[in-house]
C-alpha cells in the first residue's frame, strides 16, 4: 500500500468538504478499495471515512417504505427484524454476501457506489425499483447503475441512503463463483404494485441489468413454470475463465425460477 491520508468524516457535509482534498476517495467498509490499495492497484491520496457517521446508519421501516442508511453494514441489514418482516428477500441477500468479516465491515452504500458487476445489492436495488438518495438528489435505480463499476454519481456526490417500497413478494437466488464467492449469476425477483421486476447481477457484460423477457413471462403468471423455455440473450452475457456466456445465460433462467419459487413460498 502507498501512503495515504486518512480522514474520519463527522458528517455528510464534512465528508463532502474533505472529498475535495487531493485525489480523495470515500471509504466505508473498504471491502473493495482497501484490497485494491494493498495490491497497489488503487492509490488515492486521501481516504474519507464515512462509516462512523450516525446519520448514515440504520434501517427504517415506515408503513411500506423501507429506508436503509448508506453506512449500514451487511450484517445489520441481514439481521434487522423490521426488514426481515418488510422485505425478507433483502435481508437474506445481505446474509449471503462474503463471509462474516466482510458482512460486519461492508456497507450497502459502498456496494452500490462501487457497482461491481458481480455485487449483490445492485440487483436488489434494480428489482425493487429503489431510489438512491445522495447528498444532492434522489436517483431512481434504473438510472443509477451505468455499467461496470459506473454509476450516475457525480464528483463529490455521496450516497446517503436507499429507499424502496416493500414488495408483495421477492426473493434472491445466487450461484456463486467457486473461488471468490461473488455471484456468477444472481437474480432478484420482486413482485409489487408496479408489476414484476427481475434484475440480474454477475452475468451481464455491462453490469447489472433487468431481464425483460423473464419479467414479461412472469407478469402473465408469477410462477416458476412461466419461465420454462424463456431465455435471456447470450450475446449480452459476460464470459470468463469461470463461466461461459451461454452457461451464464442458462443460469439466469435457472436462478430466476428458483427465486420465483422461493418468493411464492
Amino acid at each position: 500500500m502507498y501512503s495515504v491520508n486518512y480522514h474520519r468524516a463527522s458528517s455528510v457535509a464534512d465528508a463532502a468538504k474533505l472529498l475535495k482534498s487531493g485525489d480523495a476517495k470515500l471509504v466505508s467498509g473498504g471491502m473493495t478499495l482497501i484490497p485494491a490499495m494493498k495490491t497497489r492497484l488503487a492509490a488515492p491520496s486521501d481516504l474519507v471515512d464515512v462509516s462512523r457517521i450516525e446519520a448514515l446508519k440504520g434501517v427504517k421501516v415506515s408503513g411500506k417504505t423501507v429506508t436503509i442508511g448508506a453506512a449500514t453494514t451487511h450484517f445489520e441489514v441481514a439481521s434487522d427484524e423490521k426488514l426481515k418482516k418488510a422485505c425478507p428477500a433483502l435481508a437474506h441477500l445481505a446474509s449471503l454476501i462474503g463471509d462474516p468479516a466482510v458482512r460486519h465491515r461492508g456497507t450497502i452504500g459502498g456496494s452500490i457506489a462501487n457497482n461491481d458487476p458481480a455485487a449483490d445489492y445492485p440487483a436488489a436495488m434494480l428489482a425493487l425499483g429503489a431510489t438512491i438518495v445522495t447528498n444532492k438528489r434522489e436517483i431512481a435505480a434504473d438510472k443509477f447503475f451505468k455499467g461496470l463499476f459506473e454509476t450516475a454519481l457525480k464528483d463529490g456526490e455521496i450516497v446517503t441512503a436507499v429507499t424502496f417500497a416493500a414488495p408483495a413478494k421477492a426473493a434472491y437466488e445466487k450461484f456463486r463463483n467457486p473461488a471468490s464467492r461473488y455471484a456468477v449469476v444472481g437474480v432478484f425477483v420482486a413482485s409489487g404494485k408496479d408489476g414484476v421486476r427481475v434484475a440480474v447481477t454477475g452475468a451481464g457484460d455491462d453490469g447489472v441489468f433487468r431481464a425483460k423477457p423473464l419479467e414479461a413471462a412472469l407478469a402473465k403468471k408469477f410462477d416458476a413454470s412461466a419461465l420454462d423455455g424463456v431465455k435471456v440473450p447470450v450475446g449480452s452475457m459476460m464470459s470468463d475463465i469461470h463461466a461461459s456466456a451461454d452457461y451464464r445465460a442458462h443460469l439466469v433462467t435457472v436462478m430466476a425460477k428458483r427465486a420465483v419459487a422461493a418468493a411464492n413460498r
Binding site: M1, T39, F175, P178, A179, S244
Partner: protein
C-alpha cells in the same frame, strides 16, 4: 502400546504454539540491522532484457542497494540446477537450460526475478522496485505443453531444441507391442492432469545474514530440507562452502513439495547481504507465491490398455507430455519419470507396460513435485482407465479391478517397482462395505426423483513412498542419496533429545517421533524433545517429502535407539552386577528380568555421564547417531469410493459420501494419520473439482489470487469415512509405509469416476467445475 506409545492417539505437542500464534516462522526472525528486500519481476512471459536502469530506484528514500543479475554473475554465483539426470531413449542427457537466480539477458515466465532492491522498510523496497526501469523486447510465448514442440513455437532455451528436455521410455517395448497384437479389446483415452498451485499457508521467505567478522552466512528459509539447501547452495551456487553456511528452517507453515526446492530468492538474499553489508529479509506476498512457487502436475497423456477376451489386462501403453515450465526446478525431471511411470502398473498384474514421457519447456512457472508428485498423475490415468474400461465392457468396475489385482507378493512390475506387501482386495471390500455399495442403486433412484444425478466412483491406488534406496535412486540419475540420519542424546538426567534430518512443516514429528522414543525407552513423552531444521544442530539430513519421514526418518531413529538401548543395558547390568541379557526396560527403569532389582532410567543416564563406575573400556556419555538407508520403497495402497450428486440444471457437484480404506502398514499415531488423509483427500478433491491454474495465451497467470483460484473450503467436502488395514512394510524396521500423500493420490480419480457415472459421459476434464459439468451434460444430450 501405552497412552503415549506407538499406536496411541496422542494430541499433537506442537499444536499449542501453532494454535496460539506462538509459532516462530522465518518472518518472525529479527536480526540486528536487518533490512527488507523486494524483487523486480518480469511482467512478460517471454522477453529479451534490453536495458536495466536502476538509477532512479537507487535514489529513492531508504534504499540500500539495487542489484542485478550481471553483478550476481560477476561475483560467481552459479545457475540453479536440476539434481536428477534423465537420459532420453536415444541415450542423450536431458537438455537443461540456464536458470540464473536473477535474469540477465532474457526472462522466460511472468514472475521471473530480475532485480533485488534492499531498503530500510518493506514499503520502501517496493516503492524503489517500481522505480527500476527495465526495457524489454517481448517475444512470442508458449504456455500449453501440447503445443511447445510445434513447428514455429518460440524457442525458450537455446540448449533445448523444440523445447524438448528429454524423450524418455520406461518398460518393455517389445512385449507391449506383442500384447496389443493379441488383444481382444483395446481401450483408448486422452487425459489431462491439471496444473496446480501449491498454496502453502505460509508464503516462502528467506533471511540472509552475512557475518563479515566470521566470514560466515546464515540463511533462515522456508525449507522442507535445510541440509539439502545448504549442500546445493554450497556445491552448485557458490554462495559459501558448507562450513561457512548455516541453514535454518524454523517452523514452516506447509510445504506440499513446493519448499523442497532451492529458489532464486534465498540465494540472492544471502549474496545481497554480503553485497550490502546488512541482513536481508524477503517474504513473498501471495501474488508472488502464485506466480513463482513451483507448480504441480500439468500432464497431457494418451493411453491405451489391452485386454484379453476375459478382461484380463495384457498391456498398457502411455505417452505423456509433461510441462516443466520455464526452468528445470531441483527435482522436476524425476517427478514425471521415476515417480510417475514406475507406478503405471497400479494395483494390477500387467505383464507389459511402455511409458513414454516427453518433458518440455513452456513460458510458465517451473513445475516440480507437489503432494504425490507423479503418483497422482499415474493413479488418475490408471483408475480412470479401469473405470472407463469396465463401463465399456458392461461389467462392474469393482469386478474388473478384482479380476486384475496383484495377489501375491513380492511382485515385480515391468516398470522397476517390486511391490513387497499389499492386500488390495481387502481394501476394496472394506471400502465397498463402508460405502454401502449394495444400496447405491436405491440412493440413485431416490436422487433421480429429486431431480439430481447420483454417481459412484472407485479408485484403487498404489503409490511408492519412503524414497528410497540410495544406490537405486543413484542408478536412476538422482544427484543425492535418499537415506536419513538421526541422533539420540540421552542427557545426564535422563531427558532425551532426538535430532533428526527429517523436517516437520505440519506433519507432527514432534509428537510421533517422541511417541516412538517413549515407547522404546519407556520414559514419558514430556522428557523427549525433537530437534530439527538447523544445519548447525543436526548432523545431516535429506528432509521431508515423498512420505518418507516415518519410513526413513523414524527408521534412522530406531537404529540410533538400538545403540542407545544396548549401551544403557550394559551400564545397568554393570551397576546391578547382572547379566546384560537379563536387563529389560520397563516403566522408567532398567530391571533385571524376573526380579525386583532395578536402576531408574535417570540414574543409569547419570552413571553414563559421571563415569565413576562404567564397564571397563566403555566411553562415557550416552549419545548415538545412525544413518538409515531403506531397502526398498514402501507401497501404501488403498481403495477410495466417492459418491456425488450433480444438479443437472447448474452442473454443481456435491460430494455426498467419501470413503477411504487405506493400507499404510503399521501406524504410530492414528489421529495424525487421519489428519493426513483428511488433508490429502481434500487436496485431491480440490484438484478434481476446484483448482484450475489458468494462463492466457500470452503467458499471464489468470488465476493469481483467491478471487480466481479456488482452494477447497470446509463446506466443499463431506465428513470422510476412514478406515485402515495393515500389511506391514517388510522393508523397514517399523513396518511403516507412509500416509502423507495417499489422499491426494487416490482421491481425484474417485471423484471424476463418480461424476462421469452420474452424468453418463466420460468427456470431462479436471477441475470439474459446474460450468464444465453442465456443458458435458448438454453436449452428451446433443
Amino acid at each position: 502400546m501405552g497412552i503415549e506409545g506407538v499406536g496411541a492417539r496422542v494430541a499433537r505437542k506442537e499444536d499449542k504454539r501453532f494454535i496460539t500464534g506462538a509459532g516462530r516462522y522465518v518472518d518472525d526472525m529479527v536480526v540486528p540491522g536487518m533490512k527488507h528486500a523486494a524483487f523486480v519481476r518480469s511482467p512478460h512471459a517471454h522477453a529479451q532484457i534490453k536495458k536495466i536502469d536502476v538509477s532512479k530506484a537507487k535514489a529513492m528514500p531508504g534504499v540500500i542497494g539495487v542489484l542485478t543479475g550481471k553483478e550476481l554473475k560477476a561475483d560467481g554465483i552459479g545457475n540453479l540446477i536440476c539434481g536428477w539426470m534423465i537420459h532420453s531413449k536415444d541415450g542423450s542427457p536431458m537438455k537443461m537450460g540456464a536458470w540464473s537466480p536473477l535474469a540477465v539477458d532474457k526472462v522466460r515466465y511472468v514472475g521471473d526475478a530480475v532485480v533485488i532492491v534492499v531498503a530500510d522498510t518493506k514499503g520502501q523496497a517496493r516503492d524503489a522496485a517500481e522505480a527500476v526501469e527495465i526495457t524489454y523486447k517481448e517475444l512470442k510465448a508458449v504456455v500449453d505443453a501440447s503445443k511447445a514442440m510445434d513447428k514455429g513455437a518460440p524457442q525458450i532455451h537455446p540448449e533445448a531444441e523444440n523445447n524438448l528436455i528429454f524423450d524418455w521410455d520406461l518398460g518393455n517395448a517389445d512385449e507391449t507391442a506383442a500384447a496389443f497384437k493379441k488383444a481382444a479389446h483395446v481401450v483408448k483415452m486422452d487425459i489431462v492432469n491439471n496444473r496446480l498451485v501449491p498454496n502453502a499457508m505460509e508464503p516462502r521467505a528467506a533471511l540472509g545474514h552475512y557475518d563479515k567478522a566470521e566470514d560466515h552466512y546464515t540463511c533462515w528459509t522456508t525449507s522442507q530440507n535445510p541440509h539439502v539447501a545448504r549442500l546445493v547452495m554450497s556445491a552448485f551456487y557458490n554462495v559459501a562452502p558448507e562450513n561457512k553456511l548455516r541453514v535454518i528452517a524454523p517452523d514452516v507453515g506447509g510445504g506440499f513439495g513446493s519448499k523442497i526446492y532451492i529458489y532464486p530468492e534465498e540465494i540472492v538474499c544471502l549474496w545481497a547481504s554480503k553485497k550490502t553489508g546488512v541482513p536481508v529479509k524477503w517474504v513473498a506476498d501471495r501474488t508472488e507465491s502464485f506466480l513463482c512457487d513451483a507448480h504441480g502436475r500439468d500432464h497431457h497423456t494418451h493411453a491405451e490398455m489391452a485386454f484379453d477376451k476375459d478382461h484380463k489386462i495384457l498391456g498398457f501403453k502411455v505417452e505423456t507430455i509433461a510441462n516443466l515450465g520455464a526452468y528445470m526446478s531441483l527435482f522436476s525431471s524425476a517427478t514425471p519419470t521415476y515417480l510417475y511411470a514406475t507406478l503405471l502398473s497400479g494395483q494390477y498384474d500387467i505383464p507389459a507396460i511402455l511409458g513414454n514421457v516427453k518433458a518440455v519447456y513452456t513460458n510458465t512457472a517451473p513445475v516440480d513435485a507437489y503432494r504425490g508428485a507423479g503418483r497422482p498423475e499415474a493413479a488418475f490415468l490408471i483408475e480412470r482407465m479401469m473405470e472407463v474400461s469396465a463401463r465399456q465392457f458392461g461389467i462392474s468396475p469393482a469386478e474388473l479391478r478384482r479380476k486384475n489385482f496383484i495377489t501375491s507378493f513380492p511382485h515385480q512390475t515391468p516398470v522397476i517397482m517390486n511391490y513387497d506387501a499389499g492386500d488390495f482386495a481387502t481394501s476394496l471390500d472394506m471400502a465397498m462395505k463402508a460405502a454401502d455399495y449394495a444400496g447405491f442403486e436405491k440412493r440413485r433412484e431416490k436422487a433421480r426423483k429429486a431431480g439430481k444425478l447420483r454417481g459412484i466412483g472407485f479408485s484403487c491406488y498404489i503409490e511408492a513412498c519412503g524414497i528410497a534406496p540410495s544406490a537405486a535412486v543413484g542408478s536412476l540419475g538422482a544427484g543425492v542419496g535418499l537415506w536419513e540420519s538421526a541422533e539420540v542424546r540421552v542427557n545426564a538426567v535422563g531427558t532425551i533429545e532426538v535430532l533428526t534430518g527429517s523436517h516437520s512443516h505440519g506433519q507432527g514429528h514432534e509428537t510421533t517421533f517422541a511417541q516412538l522414543v517413549a515407547d522404546r525407552l519407556k520414559v514419558p513423552m514430556d522428557s523427549i524433545s525433537i530437534v530439527h531444521g538447523d544445519t548447525d544442530k543436526v548432523q545431516m539430513g535429506m528432509g521431508t517429502y515423498g512420505s518418507r519421514s516415518g519410513a526413513v526418518g523414524m527408521s534412522a531413529i530406531v537404529k540410533a535407539l538400538d545403540k542407545v538401548e544396548a549401551k544403557a543395558k550394559k551400564i545397568a547390568a554393570h551397576l546391578m552386577e547382572a547379566d546384560e541379557g537379563d536387563i529389560v526396560i520397563e516403566n522408567g527403569a532398567l530391571k533385571v528380568a524376573g526380579t525386583d532389582k532395578n536402576v531408574p532410567w535417570f540414574q543409569m543416564a547419570l552413571a553414563a555421564y559421571t563415569a565413576h563406575n562404567l564397564p571397563a573400556g566403555m566411553e562415557p556419555g550416552l549419545k548415538e547417531t545412525a544413518f538409515y538407508d531403506p531397502a526398498n520403497f514402501t507401497f501404501p495402497a488403498g481403495c477410495y469410493v466417492c459418491e456425488v450428486e450433480v444438479d443437472p440444471e447448474t452442473g454443481m457437484t456435491e460430494i455426498v459420501q467419501f470413503v477411504a480404506a487405506d493400507d499404510f502398514g503399521n501406524i504410530i499415531n492414528p489421529m495424525i494419520v487421519e489428519g493426513q488423509v483428511h488433508g490429502g483427500v481434500t487436496q485431491g478433491i480440490g484438484q478434481a473439482l476446484l483448482e484450475g491454474t489458468s494462463y492466457d495465451a500470452s503467458g499471464q497467470l489468470l488465476t493469481a489470487s483467491y478471487m480466481d483460484y479456488t482452494m477447497p473450503r470446509a463446506g466443499d467436502v463431506p465428513s470422510y469415512k476412514l478406515s485402515t488395514s495393515s500389511t506391514p512394510s517388510p522393508s523397514n524396521p517399523l513396518g511403516i509405509k507412509g500416509c502423507g500423500e495417499a489422499g491426494a493420490i487416490g482421491s481425484p480419480p474417485a471423484v471424476i469416476n463418480a461424476i462421469t457415472d452420474a452424468i453418463g459421459t466420460e468427456d470431462i476434464t479436471m477441475p470439474a467445475t459446474p460450468n464444465k459439468v453442465w456443458a458435458a451434460i448438454r453436449a452428451a444430450k446433443h
